[in-house]
């Protein structure tokens, strides 16, 4: 951690942090540690929003934010850093404006870029610790590996639908013993397609608020040394049943980063590691514009929507609904006589449906709607609601 011994506070800062300083176990020294600390938050979305707000309010002296995204309407249900006025602006800039208004005594450093194998070590090296709130497996492993290679703690949190996970990875305790990291817990990621993506899965808006706040709590504990950080333990919260469990986890000898025989000594290609680059058979595509032309010209074709019923009820373009999971069982409902256009929300699930029908049932007349229903709405039917 950064040296805190010569950190001083203005009168305004002392007034602001008074409720911290008067906690006997915390005191002025912990507050000095917070001010001296440099924390990097990867992702300013659902988890990053509450974590950033609490860390800024708590007086973490230097906060770095990595995000390359732009604020979108669909973010506002959970990303409480942003208001309507921020829609369309880069997340890091909107975040900085909000955080600086909340606490003008701290420094915010922006990294308006995607974290990659090329830039991760360079970005992380200037910080004391990293908090990972990203939304995909390649970046999870990238942040983990970079933190381990640089010897920095990685405060991990992850959510899906109604479930949240938190742990403190790669933490070195007072005796110099290093705790487990993400690769000890999950040596390899799930193959793409087995786990639903964000667009398919969804998340209850308040859940990242809870889990991101726990992440901020652990960041503060690691910086200040107050309490017992969640090291060698893995916390799980099930919002549906209101149950939480804390499991014991340990380091593994076969960890390729810091096990007995490390094989990873530099950052790797994480897209490839997570199987994202596996060559998938391309499917035939049709643009929203061309589909519209077919509709206008009255061309004979069948339109099938492979989303779920509730998505269909929210908005549809008059297609026949056959959800992805039921496609194989309903293969006979797909025409073999005319062209069939298959669509979903953005084009991922419909491509899966087409591959399954081509491989298992020998279809050759299937077309994927490029950009899914969202693309169609943008191009052709802007009056319809998007989600």
């Amino acid at each position: 951690m950064s040296n805190h011994s010569n950190i001083t506070f203005s009168k305004e800062e002392l007034a602001r942090y008074n409720r911290h300083i008067i906690i006997p176990e915390f005191g002025l020294e912990a507050q000095q540690k917070l001010k001296a600390a440099k924390v990097l938050i990867v992702g300013s979305g659902g988890l990053g929003s509450p974590a950033l707000l609490y860390l800024a309010a708590a007086g973490v002296g230097t906060i770095g934010i990595v995000d390359f995204d732009v604020v979108d309407d669909s973010n506002l249900q959970r990303q409480i850093l942003f208001g309507v006025e921020a829609v369309g602006t880069p997340k890091v800039e909107a975040a900085k404006a909000r955080l600086q208004a909340l606490n003008p005594h701290i420094h915010i450093i922006l990294h308006n870029t995607q974290l990659t194998s090329k830039n991760a070590l360079d970005i992380l090296k200037d910080y004391d610790l990293v908090a990972d709130g990203t939304d995909n497996f390649p970046t999870r492993y990238l942040v983990n590996d970079a933190a381990v290679l640089l010897g920095k703690p990685n405060i991990y949190a992850s959510i899906f639908q109604f479930e949240g996970q938190v742990s403190v990875f790669n933490y070195t305790n007072k005796d110099g013993v290093v705790g487990p990291n993400y690769r000890d817990l999950y040596p390899t990621p799930p193959p793409p397609g087995l786990v639903p993506s964000c667009a398919e899965g969804g998340v209850l808006g308040v859940l990242p608020g809870i889990i991101g706040s726990l992440q901020a709590l652990e960041v503060i504990k690691v910086i200040t040394g107050v309490g017992e950080p969640l090291v060698g333990r893995f916390y799980m919260f099930d919002a549906l049943n209101f149950e939480s469990r804390t499991f014991n986890i340990s380091r593994r000898e076969d960890n390729p980063l810091n096990g007995k025989n490390p094989t990873i000594t530099a950052l790797i290609d994480y897209e490839q590691f997570c199987g994202m680059k596996a060559v998938e058979k391309p499917v035939k595509e049709i643009s929203a514009r061309d589909l519209y032309d077919w509709q206008v010209k009255g061309e004979a074709f069948q339109l099938v929507d492979v989303r779920e019923q509730d998505e269909y009820d929210f908005v549809n373009i008059g297609a026949e609904l056959i959800p992805l999971g039921t496609v194989a069982a309903n293969a006979d409902k797909f025409s073999r006589d005319v062209k069939v256009v298959v669509h979903c929300k953005m084009g991922g699930r419909s491509a899966k449906a087409i591959r399954e029908l081509e491989e298992k049932f020998g279809f050759t007349n299937l077309y994927n709607l490029k950009g899914g229903i969202l693309g169609y709405i943008d191009e052709v039917r802007p009056e319809l609601s998007k989600y």
Partner: protein
């Protein structure tokens, strides 16, 4: 009868049931029994060789079966088994 806690992402394969009572003497047999009752769970829990997938952790009580006797870890009638798959959402 051990209790198996199914994580939310896998509940759609167990008729939305969060807790299942399974009669088996080891973790291996519990998972086998589970996939017999809910065949769609199989590809999420086991790889082609029938091994527990490396992105799925199974805990007996609070402990990782990899720190116990892996699949051979014994299961008592009051054992609580948690299946915890990797999730990656931060919803950026």
């Amino acid at each position: 009868m051990a209790t198996v806690i199914i994580p939310t992402p896998l509940r759609k394969f167990t008729n939305n049931t969060a807790r299942l009572d399974i009669k088996a003497d080891t973790i291996e047999n519990t998972v086998h029994e589970l996939t017999l009752n809910f065949p769609d769970l199989k590809k999420h829990l086991l790889d082609d060789k029938g091994q527990i997938r490396s992105f799925v952790n199974i805990f007996v009580g609070n402990d990782d079966i990899r720190d116990l006797q892996q699949g051979k870890t014994p299961v008592q009638t009051d054992t609580v088994i948690s299946i915890v798959p990797a999730i990656a959402g931060g919803f950026a």
